[in-house]
């Protein structure tokens, strides 16, 4: 394959070098922490280039044979092991591509830097990138944990950049806490997997055989750990707090890239380290994923803060990705490897898609935030007139996220639905009946995400400006546009050329499951994972057809009906002039959802009384999980703490009594 002609070059070494480059850039930023120009014009663009190189190298590396390296660092007897296989390469490509666009955008975005020293920010940012790459390369438990936690730590510091805002501090705290607990869970899972052989290398774990109960314990510990990072129910509460809190490029990085690390970890542990998943793990994961997705999209629909809305939509998409992973595990457990392969491809594809459109949208919100200083949907509107670039590119992201053909969101949805249809062929009774319902749920989720996206785009970019200040909003500079355009392009390409991408992804399934789609990927333009008559989808033809019809229609209309166009005021029903406050608000747009999915929410309304002189109507929506899970835990801990603090009542004779009793107790014990 192509890589061999490169002679001395080997992808894994290149990756390590690029990681080093990122670290160096970060450190370089520390030398001029306050020099915004230097950081913006040198560090971030260079970081973007490194990202691009990472992307190219990873794409090349997918086809290269698996390689491993050992480093000097690490514990005694346990140097850091690095290994680059196709799975790692796919996510490395995701990381590289994502960081390229985001760094470009950030180069412009941080130009008039926020509170923290930009150099410090650049340091944390690039350490964040490097640690994510390290997570993907890590091939032993220790290296993995170090990389994983460094990732959490760096991102935590990025989240609390504007640390003077109490809410942001709270968000950061929540994030770090849940991340750490998750990490501990992963740690214990590794503790099981190393199975008494004190070799923490992943190779040892692969070769070790795990008795079913231990394997299950390991898997679910890992699922808890990675789920905490992915915002899986019920460990999702940090996500809608932390992602909006961060500066927009960081939010993009968190949502677009970091969350995928959780998917990577789950796949790595379940399919690679444990190797032989049991089918019911898949079922549980599937249920969790779908539940999370529904929860996320329903909450996204009722948000009034644009970044929170996107954060909840991230929860939704990760839920979808995990349901795909669940299907993979289930089919694998049943030994239906081809189906498992398709499910795996769908999962990976969805990860790529989400990386593209979610980064795009978060960056777009960043531009809006910069241009207007407004995050509240209730104060935005009509920006399509003032920020045509952002509006245009964001539209692509919006349509893609809404899962509309022929953009990329639809491809993974299509694949997943196909897989769902196959569960009818599962040997297990009941499963074959329940799981197709999952398809309906998935359809509902996608349709709802379309609803959310219409709300998002319509309220921000369409309609009339809800604040006079919005008229001053302007498009961002060239670098930002470039960053946005990069992702928009990716959305389109991933949408119309799925087969080309799948040919690469297929290598992953070949390595992990030993199953490929074989000749089903022969035609480059027609996607038919099973067989042409079974199901086929040729997005590029599709797109051309659509464009052709539209163009023809437009031409015909122009040619034969060349009547003029007049501009006039919008029809005001004769009430006198409309103003922007008459259009529907974000709350209003969410109202049907609030009504239909009422059981999901904890709703508190402020309803004015008839005699109210200045009537106020407000509705606040909260996450029920606080009441179900977190507050009880908090209360328990508080109670126990209060109990324990009785030990320290300051009376010395009591203390003496403790040691006396301890003595007696121990004496009795040894007697």
């Amino acid at each position: 394959m192509s890589w061999s002609i490169w002679g001395g070059y080997s992808p894994i070494d290149a990756t390590l070098v690029l990681i080093g480059a990122w670290l160096l850039l970060g450190v370089a930023g520390l030398f001029a922490p306050r020099n915004t120009r230097f950081v913006a014009h040198v560090i971030f663009p260079l970081g973007a280039l490194v990202g691009l190189a990472m992307l190219v190298n990873a794409v090349v590396g997918i086809t290269a044979p698996v390689e491993t390296r050992e480093m000097l660092l690490g514990l005694p007897d346990l140097p850091f092991h690095a290994r680059q296989d196709a799975l790692a390469c796919v996510f490395l490509a995701l990381l590289g591509g994502g960081s390229f666009g985001i760094s470009l955008f950030a180069a412009g975005y941080f130009r008039d830097g926020p509170g923290a020293a930009p150099g410090l920010l650049g340091f944390q940012y690039h350490v964040f990138l490097a640690s994510m790459a390290a997570v993907l390369l890590a091939d032993d438990a220790y290296a993995f944990m170090v990389a994983w936690e460094s990732m959490a730590l760096a991102s935590y510091f990025l989240v609390v950049t504007q640390h003077k805002v109490p809410a942001i501090q709270r968000a950061g705290f929540l994030y770090l806490l849940i991340a750490h607990i998750g990490a501990l869970a992963i740690l214990l899972s590794f503790g099981i997997l190393q199975g008494g052989s004190w070799h923490f290398t992943f190779d040892a774990m692969r070769s070790a055989s795990h008795p079913a109960p231990w394997a299950s314990a390991a898997f679910f510990l890992a699922l808890a750990g990675f789920g905490a990072k992915a915002g899986l129910l019920p460990l999702h509460v940090w996500l809608p707090e932390a992602h909006p809190a961060a500066p927009s490029p960081v939010s993009a990085l968190l949502s677009g890239v970091m969350l995928k690390m959780a998917v990577y970890g789950t796949l790595r542990v379940a399919l690679d380290l444990i190797g032989e998943p049991l089918w019911w793990w898949g079922l549980v994961t599937l249920g969790l994923g779908l539940g999370t997705a529904l929860f996320g999209v329903v909450f996204a629909a009722v948000q009034t803060d644009m970044k929170r809305l996107l954060a909840y939509s991230s929860i939704e998409n990760l839920g979808i990705a995990f349901s795909g992973a669940g299907l993979t595990l289930m089919f694998r457990g049943f030994g239906l490897d081809t189906l498992a392969a398709i499910a795996l491809l769908a999962t990976l594809y969805h990860c790529l898609n989400h990386a593209c459109f979610k980064s795009l949208l978060f960056l777009a919100t960043g531009s809006v935030l910069h241009a207007t200083g407004e995050r509240n949907l209730g104060k935005l509107g009509g920006l399509i007139h003032h920020m045509p670039w952002v509006a245009g590119l964001a539209l692509i992201g919006t349509l893609a996220l809404a899962g509309l053909p022929p953009l990329n969101g639809f491809v993974s949805e299509w694949l997943l639905l196909q897989v769902f249809l196959f569960t009818a062929s599962v040997p297990q009774p009941f499963i074959d009946m329940f799981v197709p319902l999952g398809a309906a749920l998935l359809a509902l989720i996608t349709a709802l995400s379309a609803y959310v996206m219409v709300k998002f785009y319509g309220v921000i970019f369409l309609g009339r400006p809800r604040e006079p200040a919005l008229d001053k909003a302007r498009d961002p500079g060239g670098l930002e546009r470039l960053g946005l355009a990069w992702f928009a392009l990716a959305c389109v390409l991933l949408g119309v050329l799925p087969v080309v991408v799948l040919r690469f992804l297929e290598i992953v399934s070949a390595q992990l499951l030993g199953a490929t789609l074989g000749d089903r990927l022969d035609s480059w333009w027609l996607l038919s994972p099973i067989s042409a008559e079974r199901a086929a989808y040729g997005p590029i033809v599709f797109l051309l057809g659509l464009v052709a019809v539209v163009v023809v229609a437009a031409l015909v209309v122009r040619r034969y009906y060349h009547a003029g166009v007049r501009r006039g005021p919008a029809w005001d029903c004769g009430f006198g002039r409309l103003d922007s406050r008459m259009q529907d608000t974000a709350e209003g747009f969410g109202q049907p959802i609030r009504r239909i999915f009422a059981p999901f929410f904890v709703i508190t309304r402020i309803v004015p009384s008839p005699s109210d002189t200045s009537p106020v109507y407000a509705v606040q929506i909260d996450d029920p999980f606080w009441g179900w899970l977190y507050r009880p835990i908090d209360r328990t801990v508080q109670g126990l703490a209060a109990l324990v603090s009785r030990l320290q009542r300051g009376r010395i004779s009591t203390y003496l009594l403790y040691s006396f009793l301890t003595l007696i107790g121990l004496l009795v014990l040894v007697l």
């Binding site: 809404a402 009818a424 309609g463 008559e533 049907p592």
Partner: protein
């Protein structure tokens, strides 16, 4: 090959031309059933013609999206028409987009229509968009379930393959399909803004859904939207026919004769469909907007029952 091409063109032409006619026919039947003096069946054509010749008036703050939306909506409906087998199953285009893509196509049209409705920033537009999207996310899963039931039977998600399978296999009773058909009918009513969910003939703001989104459109844009709506109805009818009463649809290997024979059969089916639709609309009363979820939940329920019945009885 030639046959396929002709088939394709025939279907497109048929859809484009017959769609307004179907609309006219439905309106005529409704008028008859309601003892009104019926408008001409050709009225929709006259409307389109008139609208196309008018000068367009755009709101001051209408953006490019607002002007582009009608073309996109119209285009997606045409493409949809191109992949639904109505007279013959030898559709080349049907191979590049299966039923799921078809649903996606409808969703695209819906999203663009809603976005365009929000563009002007009037109360009606947003209201209509909101309601349309609500109906949409409720109807889409039900529609998919219907299609899945069929595709589980035919073990394919391509409409052409499904209808072919149904035509070729010996006549048998599929309880699952019966459930699916009911579900489909309900979805059709909702998706095409018919009573009891919406009323195409009214502009009362409390009840408007579809019309609310078109309020700001005029002239050729409005014409395209109306035509697209007609096409949508036609497409749904065609889907229903292809799924549930496919007999008479020419096979893939058929010649011109079957094709030409297919057309009148289709016409017959469409006429009866129109009459039935009109009957339903006359017999039922408009629902409150927040009854619509229950209405569609029923549809979803039927669809799911259909699928379960199939999985259980294997029929």
């Amino acid at each position: 090959m030639i046959v396929a091409a002709t088939n394709q063109l025939l279907e497109l032409a048929l859809a484009l031309l017959a769609a307004p006619l179907l609309l006219g026919w439905v309106n005529k039947c409704r008028a008859w059933l309601q003892n009104r003096s019926a408008p001409s069946i050709w009225l929709p054509y006259r409307n389109l013609h008139k609208l196309f010749h008018k000068d367009a008036v755009l709101a001051d703050n209408a953006s490019l999206l607002f002007r582009a939306a009608p073309y996109v909506v119209f285009g997606s409906m045409v493409v949809a028409a191109a992949i639904i087998p109505s007279v013959g199953t030898a559709l080349p285009s049907a191979y590049v987009a299966d039923a799921i893509a078809l649903v996606g196509l409808f969703a695209t049209a819906r999203v663009f229509m809603s976005l365009a409705a929000m563009d002007i920033g009037t109360a009606f537009g947003t209201l209509g968009a909101r309601r349309e999207m609500m109906i949409g996310f409720l109807a889409e899963p039900a529609l998919l379930m219907v299609i899945f039931t069929a595709s589980l039977i035919a073990s394919s998600t391509s409409l052409v393959a499904i209808s072919t399978a149904f035509v070729t296999r010996e006549l048998a009773i599929y309880p699952s399909l019966a459930f699916a058909a009911i579900a489909f009918m309900l979805v059709l009513l909702a998706e095409n803004a018919r009573i009891p969910v919406d009323n195409p003939a009214t502009h009362l703001e409390l009840t408007m859904i579809h019309e609310a989104m078109l309020l700001e459109y005029s002239a050729r844009h409005l014409a395209l939207m109306e035509w697209a709506a007609a096409l949508k109805l036609f497409n749904y009818a065609a889907i229903g026919i292809a799924l549930f009463v496919p007999w008479g649809i020419a096979r893939g290997d058929a010649g011109y004769v079957e094709l030409l024979a297919g057309a009148p059969i289709l016409a017959l089916k469409l006429l009866s469909f129109g009459a039935g639709l009109a009957l339903i609309e006359t017999l039922s009363a408009k629902l409150r907007i927040f009854r619509a979820p229950e209405f569609l939940a029923t549809a979803f329920l039927f669809a799911v029952l259909g699928m379960l019945v199939h999985l259980l009885l294997g029929s």
